[in-house]
């Protein structure tokens, strides 16, 4: 099958709402969105806390978070695999090769992105912001929420960046998900499998979906940045 024929077949399957293809897309979205929903509150809270407090080891923590931004996803998968495998410390939980394991892996991958971006946003916020909130009577929690509200566009950008990183990662999902059809097969692992089987049409169709996701994230980031500049 030529590239042109494969592409044509790919779009036919996409528009024919091919069940297998769209099941894979659904799993991808479910896993990635759930992982982000779990990681975001904790990562944003950590980013805010580190940015707002001075403590021993702070610099090392910031460097660690920044270093984890480029941590190979396959290594996250490897570590998680060792923890979740039958002989691992978390083996009794029977999570290996489940969507829950993929969600855990993607939450770990997204965490440093969310935390580091939030940290930078809060650290870069105008110091008069918290003083104003405090002087107007806000307690610690309200003052923190006001600060996060003021840097909301940067936090939204962090979430979008996190989504971009997890929706396209293949290493961790492959290792802890196992690429089981209809269960743990997501878009990146399906592309790897279909290509190795020679079903380029399916690979191209899924690649097109992934590119649409990437485009959407880019467009949304642009909107968020222009909103941030306009306000």
């Amino acid at each position: 099958m030529s590239l042109l024929e494969a592409t044509s077949e790919a779009f036919r399957r996409l528009f024919a709402l091919d069940a297998e293809l769209w099941t894979v897309v659904g799993i991808s979205l479910k896993v990635s969105i759930t992982a982000l929903a779990i990681a975001t509150p904790f990562a944003v809270a950590l980013g805010f806390w580190v940015a707002s407090n001075r403590f021993r080891g702070r610099r090392a923590l910031i460097l660690t978070l920044q270093g984890l931004l480029s941590f190979p996803t396959v290594v996250v998968g490897l570590i998680l695999y060792l923890l979740l495998s039958r002989s691992g410390p978390l083996g009794p939980w029977h999570l290996l090769f489940t969507q829950d394991a993929m969600i855990a892996g993607q939450a770990i991958i997204a965490f440093p992105v969310l935390a580091a971006f939030t940290l930078a946003a809060v650290h870069g916020a105008d110091p008069r912001l918290r003083e104003t909130a405090t002087s107007l009577g806000a307690g610690s929690l309200r003052s923190a929420l006001t600060t996060l509200h003021e840097v909301r566009f940067a936090v939204i950008a962090a979430v979008l960046n996190g989504f971009g990183r997890v929706i396209s990662e293949v290493g961790c999902s492959m290792m802890v998900g196992g690429n089981i059809s209809g269960f743990t097969r997501n878009v990146p692992t399906a592309i790897a499998l279909e290509t190795s089987k020679g079903d380029f049409a399916q690979g191209i169709a899924l690649g097109a979906v992934l590119m649409v996701f990437a485009l959407l994230v880019t467009v949304l980031l642009g909107i968020v940045q222009s909103e941030s500049g306009a306000k």
Partner: protein
């Protein structure tokens, strides 16, 4: 005049060099105090210490049975003492939300809150700019919004830092007029400034900060 705040001590040093060594001052109801001093003399630091926004090395202040120290500044005191920056920070929401902010923190019921916000807007004469994004306001307009936002809380002590710096013409005159009207009989207003017109406001006491100490000038 009844005493609102008694400051027994406010001392702070930077890198071992003393900046402030202020002691025994009282702020009374009806006071309009103009605080002068050279740039870098510590006026902003002093006002921020009074407002609990900056820690001193030694600090002791009494207000209505509440005691503030260098280690502890009671939250209830923040409802009585409000600080306005030289270049006020306006939250990235609407102007009305900015003015409403402090009332929400105090748990003011919505009906009263909206009435007080409307009164503060009328008081500051900022109706024409209500629909403008805070970021797009001029310096004078921001200062007026910040004064309305502070005044709506009816603080017993209002601390205003260089409110007319970088303002000229009509904006400066409007801000001075607002400050004059802010000083009512039952509160105290402290204004740090270099502005001669502010220094000569009728009934104003003049404090001068030099060498870390505050002296009252006639």
């Amino acid at each position: 005049m009844s005493v609102i705040v008694t400051l027994r001590e406010a001392a702070k040093a930077y890198s071992g060099k003393p900046l402030l060594a202020v002691g025994n001052l009282t702020l009374a109801a009806g006071d309009l105090i103009v605080l002068t001093g050279d740039n870098g003399s510590g006026k902003t630091t002093f006002l921020k210490m009074l407002a609990g926004l900056e820690h001193g090395d030694r600090f002791a202040l009494s207000f209505d049975g509440l005691e503030a120290t260098a280690r502890h500044y009671p939250h209830a005191l923040r409802h009585a003492i409000v600080y306005v920056h030289q270049h006020p920070y306006l939250f990235n929401t609407s102007i009305i939300d900015n003015i409403r902010y402090g009332l929400r923190q105090r748990g003011t019921p919505p009906h009263d809150r909206e009435r007080l916000v409307r009164e503060a807007i009328a008081w500051a004469g900022i109706e024409p700019v209500l629909a403008v994004a805070p970021k797009r306001l001029s310096g004078g307009e921001k200062q007026k919004v910040a004064l309305a936002r502070a005044r709506v809380l009816a603080p017993r002590v209002l601390l205003v830092d260089e409110p007319t710096a970088n303002l000229d013409g009509q904006a400066r005159a409007q801000v001075i007029e607002l400050l004059r009207r802010t000083a009512t009989g039952d509160n105290c207003v402290v204004v740090a400034c270099h502005d001669r017109e502010l220094m000569e406001l009728e009934g104003a006491r003049r404090w001068h900060l030099e060498g870390g100490r505050i002296t009252e000038q006639s």
